[in-house]
Amino acid sequence: MSREVKGMTGDEAVAWAAKLVNPDVVAAYPITPQTIIVERYSDFVNNGEVDTSFIPVESEHSAMSACVGASLTGARVFTASASAGLALMYEILYVASGMRCPIVLAIANRAFSAPINIHGECTDQVVCRDTSWVSLFGESAQEAYDETILSFKIAEHPDVMLPAMFGIEGFIVTHALERVETLSKQQVEDFLPEYRSTKYRFNPDEKMTFGSLVLQDYYMEIKRQQEEAMQRAYTVTKDVMAEFSEMSGRKMEIIEEYQLEDADYAFVSYGATAGNAKAVVDRLRNKGEKVGALKIRLYRPFPSLDVQEALSGVKAASILDRSATFGSPGTIMQTDIATALYGKENVPTLHGYINGLGGRVLTLPEIEDIYEKTKDYHDVGMTMTTDWIGYRT
């Protein structure tokens, strides 16, 4: 297989991958650190390199609203946002999933205001966990590239027909220049055929009503159908990732296990933090520690079974969570994992660490400290702890 390699930032990787997909509509609004995605895509449009209708809307609320209108015609639709922009879309995220629009949304994960801050943090995306969107995280520009393409295939799968979002951390991934193996136009076209269904869609020939008022007598059935689609999205995502791995020659799975087979201790993370966690695993392994790392790539539907199997036999897990929650029983990822493992055998104790807010760097020595802290907690019999790491008191 020919593998072309290019240097790209995470944002550029998303834009270049989206170019290969050539969606019918891109409706987007700029926000740091996502801007490069819309800027590059505007170049492609204005230079005639894609035949997408680009809608430079006046807000993110309108971006998502236009995406819904476009998707309901049967079109292939893409957008990108972050932080405040994603929050402004929030109302319509529910409309998009409730009306079963397979829109793909790239997120340059960024901290929320206040105080205003433009840097990397995943809170914006994790708080969308209940919106009925398939949700993925990427660690690198390569994963940003790959997830752009495969998200369409997951979302548009007839068993799913739900929107999909994937996030890469602001600046840490969006603006870092990395090595990216690219795909050819042909490969993407074969993987994602240019078929659009206009049947039962909003088009001039179908005298159909979309977006009815649905009251107590039917609402719950419609919501239940979304849940069933979400459950099917789990298998579909696995299949799509397997097919993608085959096509690209790059292994892509819903979770990634690193040195976990014989591990007594594990780091659990998602997004860019996973790279540092693996680096610390290497350091600690050199010192003879039996430690591994688990990366969660698919966040919704949550891969409970896979996480459970991956952590089975591990004594204690350190969950590195670059997202904020207040007054919660644990970090956001930690509470999900705790729920997935509750009542199961051979499960680790769970130690959550909220870190890296507003783009603060979580250093490798800090991760080593976390490792020691987790061991201490475990040794004194604490099964569930949550700490904030890396702030001045």
């Binding site: 409706a27 035949d51 079109a75 001039p204």
Partner: protein, 325 residues
Amino acid sequence: MTIQLPKVSVKDLQEWSKLGEVLTSGHRLCAGCGAGIMARQVTLAAKALGDPFMLVNATGCLEVATTIYPYTAWDAPWLHNAFENAPATASGAIEAMKAMQRKGLMREREVHMIVFGGDGSSFDIGLQSLSGAVERGHDFLYICYDNGAYMNTGIQRSGGTPQGAATTTSPPGSVIPGKIRWQKPLAAILAAHDIPTFTASPAYPRDLMAKVQAGLKHDGSAFLLVDSPCNLGQRYSPDQSIEVAKLAVKTCFFPLYSTYKDEWILSGVSLRLAKNPEKKLPVEDFLKVQGRFRHLFKPEWKKKLVEIQEAVDERWERLLKKTEF
């Protein structure tokens, strides 16, 4: 710049009435509701053009009362997204169809897009979406049916509520007699986007339908503000909707005009009133038939009535100047 209004004759109406209803019977708008009358006139005018058309509807009475699942009153492609985003939603659908046509994934042809929004949706929460979509120039006709309040949520004041009107959030109190401020000049705001802009009333269907057809035929965005009588919220009996709508025009409270790039043209009754000013009725004739203005007729608020008449006169005079009467 002049926009040509097609001539709609009574004979045309007779012919078009055979085309079949688009907003069919069985919907749950209040008996007498002006929004239903308006929507039937609009869709019939669209149907008479012969090309396929699609509808996007913002949240509000017209949407809620016509699509209670699993039923629908619409015999046309119809889409509702949310309250404040109908223009953005329509932009997405229009541009998606264009892209699919370019790629050969959809048959190429003329399709008309009509967007409905209430006054709450258009004057207030969705104004940004509307202004943005119009600035981008998508080819649709936006129709604001203005019933002067958030009717669907129980008659709260909006930027389109007239001065003095009682609503549940501008009640006729002992200190403040209803809505304080005058309506936002929405038609003028849209006209300032340099798009064909019209006002119309369901009491004058031929004028309304001509404007719908002109707006749809225009290549790009167009805007139509329709006075939409609402017996429940404006408080009069259901058989009086058309009477109330006529009085709005005859008192110059709601003048009928078209405007495009600084050319302003009066039509119908408003044109006749411009030529025969003595025929203009006092605004009290319009106010006194509606319960929402009843409190203004108490002796202590007499000065309010004078103020409203002055405001109506002033607005009418300014419009006449623009139309060179």
